[in-house]
């Protein structure tokens, strides 16, 4: 009994989606959005991020380890479910099902995303406006980005809604409805920012 750490790991999985991953998502989207003001602004913002102190420690501790933990443990959790949306077409069951689908798609997207940006960067490629612009010049890659952005914003927004339940913050019907409103607003706003940013790279 004492060695059962399920509660701790599940709660850590829940909070890791917001801190640090959600916070990183906000920063990442904000930096991306600077592309809307032009290549120069974006390059300045990207350079500023690239020159942050303790960059590698932060990348590993705030981005890579939490993402890998959240993703791998998330897949383990998703495997426990026997999705039954065809028999039970209820609103929240759709959210449940889509949370698992989006999680797996985001995981695949991130493998591709890191493989096409950070990996070349590690081999000396410069992370700038042209790097992204040349990627999205390919319509297939642009499609990957659109799907990846929407899956990410859905997964985060719905995850935020369920996190409020998981931590016992929204307990009754009224507050859970309020949580849903916050989720919808997050999804719309983040999707708007994310899509505006990626289309800013399209020539």
């Amino acid at each position: 009994m004492k060695s059962d750490r399920t509660f701790f790991w599940r709660k850590l999985h829940s909070i890791s989606g917001l801190i640090p991953i959600g916070v990183f998502l906000f920063v990442h989207f904000a930096i991306n959005y600077t592309a809307f003001y032009g290549a120069e602004t974006y390059n300045q913002a990207a350079a500023m991020m690239g020159n942050l102190p303790f960059r590698y420690a932060m990348e590993i501790g705030i981005i890579f380890i939490p993402l890998l933990f959240h993703g791998i443990y998330g897949i383990y959790i998703a495997r426990e479910a026997k999705n039954n949306i065809s028999a039970y077409k209820y609103e929240k069951n759709w959210y449940f099902y889509f949370q698992r689908v989006s999680g797996i798609l985001v995981f695949l997207f991130l493998v591709w995303h890191v493989g096409t940006t950070r990996v070349p960067a590690a081999f000396g490629a410069e992370v700038n406006f042209d790097m992204v612009a040349s990627l999205v010049a390919n319509p297939v890659y642009l499609f990957f980005y659109i799907v990846g952005i929407l899956m990410t914003t859905y997964h985060f927004s719905n995850g935020f809604r369920t996190m409020l339940i998981t931590w016992g913050i929204t307990v009754n019907r009224k507050s859970q409805n309020f949580g849903k409103v916050i989720g919808v607003i997050l999804f719309v706003v983040l999707s708007g920012i994310g899509l505006t940013a990626i289309f800013a790279f399209v020539a």
Partner: protein
């Protein structure tokens, strides 16, 4: 008993024993106004002849109270988990498909083994410790305000419909299910039950406990007693979270 010639068409998934293969058998039974699933099954028992006119074994099912308080007659009616007693023939599209619940192992025909639910109730300590070897006297009173909503939770009859609808209750998962969690909230609200509150919380903070809930909300949708299961689970999320901090920092 006049039947005016109308018939009720039933397609029933049958199974002769726990390890037999299942098959579908069709029946047509005389219609009466206000029939429920149980009375249609009783017609088959009266005259066990299938739609093709062949004599067959009567379809087996479980039922006790016939008024939706015992939870024994759970089955899939047209694919939805329902209580056979409170499901009226007049409200259904025909042919009516009957099948045993899929989450539990089938014993015979529409009878399933519901043991895992009772095991879960034992695991979460879904009872109140009362007198020991001597009379401990009356317990503390419960506030009327709490009694009113706690009474709704006490309507749970362990029928298993929430287990059936929950995507996280299955043979790949160790989840103890929504109903036993709601019972923890009920007994932790009761003034005497509260005295063992931390034990119950400990028991649901393990593998397969409260953290296995994925918030699909199906449990509350299918509950025949309209128990606010999702809100019970959210309330327990609050108490287990608070307890986990207390356990780490204080206790």
């Amino acid at each position: 008993m006049t039947t005016n010639g109308k018939l009720v068409h039933l397609k029933i998934r049958r199974q002769d024993g726990p390890s037999s293969d299942s098959y579908v058998e069709e029946f047509e039974v005389p219609y009466r106004p206000s029939m429920n699933i149980i009375s249609a099954l009783m017609e088959i028992r009266k005259n066990p002849v299938n739609k093709d006119g062949e004599e067959t074994t009567p379809v087996q099912w479980e039922s006790v109270c016939l008024e939706e308080v015992c939870g024994a007659c759970s089955m899939l009616v047209n694919g939805k988990p329902r209580q056979a007693c409170s499901t009226l023939i007049d409200s259904l599209e025909q042919p009516i498909h009957l099948a045993p619940l899929k989450t539990f192992s089938c014993e015979r025909d529409l009878i399933v083994n519901r043991k895992q639910m009772f095991d879960a109730l034992m695991k979460v300590k879904a009872w109140i410790d009362i007198d020991g070897t001597h009379d401990l006297g009356p317990g503390p009173r419960m506030a009327e305000e709490d009694r009113q909503w706690a009474y709704e939770l006490s309507k749970c009859m362990t029928c298993g419909l929430c287990f059936e609808a929950c995507p996280n209750v299955n043979d790949r998962s160790t989840f103890i299910g929504p109903a036993p969690l709601s019972q923890v909230r009920l007994f932790n609200t009761h003034p005497t039950g509260k005295m063992q509150a931390s034990k119950r919380l400990e028991n649901i903070m393990t593998e397969g406990g409260i953290t296995s809930c994925g918030n699909s909300g199906n449990c509350a949708e299918v509950c025949p007693k309209e128990i606010p299961l999702t809100h019970s689970i959210a309330a327990l999320n609050k108490s287990t979270t608070a307890y986990s901090f207390k356990r780490f920092f204080v206790k």
